[in-house]
Amino acid sequence: MSKQPYIVPAIRRVSQSSANPQRLGRTPVIDVIDGVPVAGLLARFGGPLFVFSEAGLRAKIRDAKRAFAAVYPDVTFAWSYKTNYLDAVCRVFHQEGSMAEVVSGFEYEKARANGVPGARIIFNGPYKTTAELRRAVDEGAMIQVDNRDEVVALARLAAEMDRDLKVGMRVHVDTGTHAVWSKFGFSVEGGEALRMIRWMTENTRLRVCGLHCHVGTFMLDAGAYATAARAVTELALEAEEAGCPPVSYLNLGGGFASRARLHGQYLPPEQATPSFDDYARELSGTIKDCWPQGRTLPKLYLETGRALVDEAGYLLASVVAVKQRTVKDAGAALAAYGKGGAGGALAAYGKGGSVVAAVGGRRNAVVLDAGIQILYTTAWYQPSIYPAAEPRTGVQPTTVYGCLCMNIDVIREEAALPDLRPGDAVVIHPVGAYNITQSMQFISYRPAVVMVGTDGHAHLIRRRETLEDVRGPEVVPGFLSEINGTAGEARVDRQ
């Protein structure tokens, strides 16, 4: 007689909340990515493993370009390096015609190393050294000046070179939807930006030919871009009226939302996230309304990052341990699903009280071989977690812990998952934005990254970190060369 598959003997109290497993429906599974089986990827490259879809990246940028080209005559996208500066990812966007948008000397060098000419780089950010500015000027990059000290540094360079320098100016606008990002640039509402443009025109050889405004991040209200576009368009016209050179371009930055889900976000991303068409309509409509009839519209630059890359990124991880977690107030915890559980109320029922505390107050939990050190964005977003194979059971609210020996390492407080066993793979999605660039080497090695190409094959685009990668930059002072009478393998500074 053939044996049946093994499932852990388990019992859960049936909750009356929307977290009731009977009501969570069928469990979605991700067992292939662009036709490549997840199990095969893990077997070949090991885990955890980041996976990017080339087709997904290209589809997004093409959709964004289509949406804007349909409503505005002159739009250029610049790939936001900080969102994900893996060379392979950047090159997909460059192949699709995107410039590079960088915010540091390091990112500038990375873009140049990717073969992007200076004239195809937008140089943003609040900190640019004089040497970096000089290189950017020499190579014809689009510099977006952020602050008065940078204005002074650039003005000195222009004087030294005895030439006019075209620059863009970063400004900030109160759109009423987010806290104003006043860290960056000059205030439009307070008149600071107009005053600075005039001051630069009258006192330096800097010529402000563009205005740059990045209103925020993960903007679920596309209307915020209409507010920002109106403010920068009106500023451009006011500056021209005041005798400054005409502004030839507007750069409305990035901030378009992906289909990630914020903590506490009520509506699912499918309903909450605006489309590229929504953003395009708000931006182009406003600029066209405000710009004088008959004049050529200013060129529009966009630096969207997250919305282009987030959904193309997956993290494959494996369960290493299964636990039962005690939850003191199951009702409160379950409230994240909607109506909330009834655990607290039922505790009042005599004998039932102890029952609720025993089983109702316990929740499935799993420990993965990946942690929040490589999933930095879980601080703000709740990624979906999918089984990588058909589930053996129905789903239960499950806490998903990371692998770090840190109590804060919780990837999801509650994910709807079936009973999982050590060795079972899961797919975490979307994770393409910021997790690569903001991941840190902490406690364990950073994982390999592969790209599933449109050729149907998986290509390694970053190998797994090794001990040598971590120790390489370290130097041990000579007086620490020996411990317990042995020299060890450390690099010893003999000076």
Partner: protein, 82 residues
């Protein structure tokens, strides 16, 4: 003759693993293996017999089954069913 039923006897189970405990009014959901174990216990099986049944019918090694079964029995104990 003692006619009083035990908490374990009182439990009402269906084939999908749904359990109703008439003593508390609470409902529970068992995994398929949990249902198999609980039914065996209702039939009066010992822990060793339940373990033997698991090993005979399921693709599992003895140590894993033992560890999981002990944890399951502990939960049933917490519920006052054993």
């Amino acid at each position: 003759m003692n006619t009083q039923s035990t908490r374990l006897d009182d439990l009402m189970l269906n084939d999908r693993g749904f359990v109703f405990d008439p003593n508390t009014g609470e409902s529970y959901q068992l995994s398929a293996t949990g249902l198999q174990c609980l039914r065996a216990l209702q039939r009066g099986a010992t822990t060793a017999a339940v373990l033997a049944e698991l090993l005979e019918t399921r693709e599992v090694d003895a140590l894993t089954a033992r560890a999981d079964l002990d944890a399951f029995l502990w939960e049933l104990n917490q519920l006052g069913w054993l």
